[in-house]
């Protein structure tokens, strides 16, 4: 383990590696690893969007012929395979990796004044394990029978009985589970590293009360990951055993599939999987969204030039959400046949989680109130995050009530809810972070004009896609239907699906603008000459862009101030960097 001394002693040995492979491929530098994670997420998000593009094409025009599909039309199993892989790739390879492992890896050590993560080699290992997991999952497309069709939740017995219950449930499903299990391992390693780093490697003066809110959210997210991924790993192993070793953890006796009696399985419970999966799956929602909350809080304060309103309440809310996140998994199971009494308890706990979420929203508005708001792309996405968080969060109040969930469960209302809050809001958090930290990471700015175009198309686009899905849900449209052709009420909803598809094409097209801006800016963007172009306060803005290998040049920074000292009365500048000695603060 790397030891950090508070001044004196032996300065720790951080030599920049030489050679391309040690520097950029098998690097132990947290900044390179952070960028590797971001690139993995960038690849995955475009893959995931491409899959949704095909799905929306089919949902919008289910009877039209497209030459890209064999036979002119997408088959139901192809649709379900796309849907399963879209969900899996987006949840695990984008929403779990980019906000936490990507940005967190890059900026957590710098924001707390450390030279690297606590376990740099483990850090490298967790990235490459994640990479292997992605490759294994993508291989599911290539095996006979294709990718699994059981959805990202992979409920048994559909996921446990093999090819007999559907194409893709053979080799494709096995690869999916193996890939996921590997991912769990990678996430556990990452979580341990984050927790240790934050506890042990904070610079002198970086008390818990001076941690930027981004660090608080990365820390709580890491704790969630540590407690949740272990459970998913166990569930994956049990499911693999059911499939490959003939055990029956999730498969009851007496099943008959297409007139064939399954005699070799007895005594398992499909609900056991659901409990294990959602014990992981609900905290996973917060793993995806908490870092976005941290980034939004950080940016609202920075670009409103005001301290975060209610810093302690914000920290409390993050911890509260993290804790309650483990107490509410049963709200995914109101119609599962679980005890109705526990359903009621889960319901009340879920309504309770609305409270810290509301506290955050109030405090974000309080942070803006009385500020001096600057509208660069990073801030636009942070403001968009707040709007989307409210829109996506409120529908949770319907779904948390079991009596109402009876109607909405497994319908498009749910699809709208989780896409807005867990998907789009989290992605807005990532965009905000990227536009904000891009100059620090690459020494250049992203183009603001193109960025604004990207923001507006995306912001309007996501509302146009996901708001109408609420109405589909109210009309009773079940999710995971490959076409809406089975009954009259679904056929009547076809125009709404068509509208959503068109909006999805436009919004996904707008992401190409982003991709262009990203790539062009890395190479030809306007140079960020200043260390601190945004006049921000946290430690990453006290070092060159991009930062040197050991971040602070072998000198451990000392922290004197809270993270959000903006517009402090009696000072000349409207910000006080955390590392600025009190005697150096210019008094008015």
């Amino acid at each position: 383990m790397v030891t950090h001394e508070n001044g004196g002693g032996h300065a720790h040995q951080h030599q920049p590696p030489s050679g391309f492979i040690r520097k950029y491929i098998f690097s132990i530098d947290h900044k390179v690893i952070g960028i590797q994670y971001l690139l993995l997420a960038l690849f995955s998000v475009f893959l995931g969007m491409a899959l949704s593009l095909l799905m929306r094409l089919h949902l919008g025009w289910p009877t039209a012929n497209f030459s890209i599909f064999k036979g002119g039309q997408m088959t139901p199993e192809q649709y379900l395979a796309l849907m399963t892989m879209h969900g899996t790739i987006m949840v695990f390879m984008v929403l779990t990796t980019a906000p936490q492992s990507g940005f967190g890896n890059y900026f957590l050590p710098i924001q707390i004044g450390a030279a690297d993560m606590a376990f740099p080699v483990l850090n490298m290992l967790s990235f490459w394990t994640t990479f292997v997991s992605l490759c294994v999952m993508i291989c599911a497309f290539l095996v006979s029978g294709g990718a699994p069709i059981g959805g990202w939740t992979s409920y048994p017995p559909l996921s446990a009985l093999g090819e007999i219950v559907g194409p893709g449930q053979g080799g494709g499903e096995t690869l999916w589970i193996v890939g996921l299990a590997i991912f769990c391992g990678a996430s556990l390693m990452g979580a341990l590293n984050f927790i240790t780093t934050l506890i042990d490697l904070r610079a002198k003066g970086m008390t818990l009360g001076r941690l930027p809110l981004t660090c608080w959210t990365w820390f709580v997210t890491a704790i969630l990951g540590l407690l949740a991924f272990g459970v998913l790993l166990a569930a994956c192993i049990l499911l693999l055993l059911d499939r490959l070793a003939g055990t029956s953890f999730f498969i009851p006796g007496g099943l008959v599939v297409t007139d064939q009696v399954i005699t070799w399985h007895k005594g398992g419970s499909p609900l056991l999987w659901q409990h294990l999966f959602w014990f992981f799956g609900h905290p996973e929602v917060y793993i995806a969204i908490l870092p976005g909350m941290g980034v939004a809080s950080h940016l609202l304060s920075t670009f409103a030039r005001k301290p975060v309103f209610g810093y302690r309440a914000m920290v409390g809310a993050v911890c509260g959400i993290g804790f309650l996140g483990f107490c509410v998994w049963g709200h995914h199971m109101f119609v599962s046949g679980m005890s109705p009494y526990s359903a009621f308890a889960f319901s009340i706990l879920t309504m309770t989680i609305g409270v810290p979420s509301a506290i955050k929203t109030f405090n974000w508005l309080g942070t803006l109130w009385g500020g001096k708001i600057q509208f660069n792309c990073a801030m636009l996405f942070a403001l968009g995050f707040v709007s989307l968080f409210v829109s996506g969060g409120l529908s949770g109040l319907f779904l948390a009530q079991p009596a109402l969930d009876l109607y909405l469960h497994d319908g498009y209302f749910v699809v709208a809810h989780f896409h807005l809050i867990m998907g789009v809001a989290a992605i807005f958090g990532m965009f905000a972070g990227l536009y904000f930290w891009f100059p620090k990471m690459f020494g250049r700015f992203m183009n603001e004009g193109i960025g604004k175009l990207h923001f507006w198309l995306t912001f309007i686009g996501v509302y146009a896609i996901f708001m109408p899905m609420h109405f589909l849900g109210l009309a009773g449209n079940p999710r995971r239907y490959s076409e809406m052709t089975a009954g009259p009420f679904l056929i009547a909803l076809q125009p709404v699906h068509k509208f959503i598809s068109v909006m999805a094409f436009i919004t996904i097209g707008a992401q190409l603008i982003f991709l262009y801006n990203f790539i062009a800016s890395v190479f030809w963007g306007k140079e960020a000459k200043e260390e601190n172009p945004w006049h921000a306060t946290t430690l990453e803005w006290s070092i060159p862009s991009p930062p040197p290998f050991d971040n602070f040049g072998g000198i451990e920074p000392v922290v004197y101030h809270g993270p959000y000292e903006f517009s402090v009365p009696g000072t000349v500048d409207d910000f006080i960097p955390q590392h600025l000695a009190p005697e150096l603060v210019k008094k008015a």
């Binding site: 009985l161 499909p270 409210v390 409120l394």
Partner: protein, 276 residues
């Protein structure tokens, strides 16, 4: 962004942002209000009770939605950078306590209020004398079994299941009480009489869903889950599958027909006759 001068175009961006938020909110609320896409009318008393809870939840979430989005729009426009210095305050404990308590009361209160409807579905069993119907999901059809004149469900055996020979639920012909059981691909129930469903699955998890009943219940292999309702409005209603069950999930579809009692009795007789 580099200077302390107001950022160019900030008024235009602030205005655009605020106008978009207001428009988005108004359009969204209008579509909910006008009920352009909406629930079909409920056909049970429970359904009406659930609808009333929906109305309460819409009211509360609607107010919070409008207040939050308008508040955000106002803050964005009002506090755009026009050269001022930001005011300095780090929070307000009284306000934190007020809105924490307010949301606790509002959200948890709403949750407690919803208890009654849930209790009617699941805490209370079916009324005595309810018509029992066994619902069986299998890839990708529903089958509905009635006990017949003897009022007893006969034995079923997995190895006898054969959809192709007309025994989709595996009725055992050696059991006398299974002889008069009626198996139907559609579900027919009498109006104004309690019906108890016994929901099960032969293969993977399905979910029995009728919009007008406001009910949904997973059919879980290895479990028999009871659900009850009392439909008051005769008519035909679609039955869908709401839990992903394989490639034919989207077409796993049936009909619920609610009939007046005499029509139902006639239907039952016709089925029995066809069974002989």
């Amino acid at each position: 962004m580099l200077s302390r001068r107001p950022e160019r175009g900030s008024t235009a961006v602030a205005l655009a942002f605020a106008v978009f938020l207001v428009l988005m909110t108004v359009v969204t609320v209008y579509i909910f209000w006008a009920k352009i896409w909406w629930f079909p009318p409920a056909i049970t008393d429970l359904g009406h009770e659930i609808d009333a809870q929906y109305a309460r939840t819409f009211l509360i979430t609607g107010i919070v939605f409008v207040a939050a989005q308008f508040g955000l729009a106002l803050a964005i426009f009002k506090f755009r950078d026009h050269g001022q210095r930001a005011s300095y305050f780090e929070g307000n404990n009284t306000m934190e306590i007020i809105w924490t308590l307010a949301t606790v009361v509002l959200f948890v209160g709403l949750g407690l209020y919803a208890r009654n409807a849930w209790a009617e579905v699941h805490f209370i069993g079916a009324a005595p004398g309810a018509l029992q119907i066994e619902v069986t999901g299998q890839q990708f059809v529903w089958n509905f079994r009635y006990a017949g004149p003897d009022g007893k469900f006969g034995r079923e055996k997995p190895e006898l299941v054969s959809a192709s020979t007309g025994n989709p639920v595996g009725l055992d012909p050696t059991d006398p009480s299974s002889k008069d059981d009626i198996v139907s691909p559609v579900i027919v129930v009498p109006a104004n009489r309690e019906v108890e469903l016994i929901i099960r699955s032969q293969d993977v998890t399905h979910s029995f869903y009728v919009r007008e009943l406001r009910l949904k219940q997973d059919a879980v292999p290895g479990m028999e889950i009871h659900m009850h309702f009392n439909a008051t409005v005769p008519g035909d209603y679609e039955v869908a599958c709401a839990e992903l069950c394989g490639l034919g999930h989207y077409r796993m579809h049936s009909m619920l027909t609610v009939m007046n009692e005499p029509d139902f009795e006639k239907w039952e007789k016709d089925q029995e006759a066809a069974n002989q």
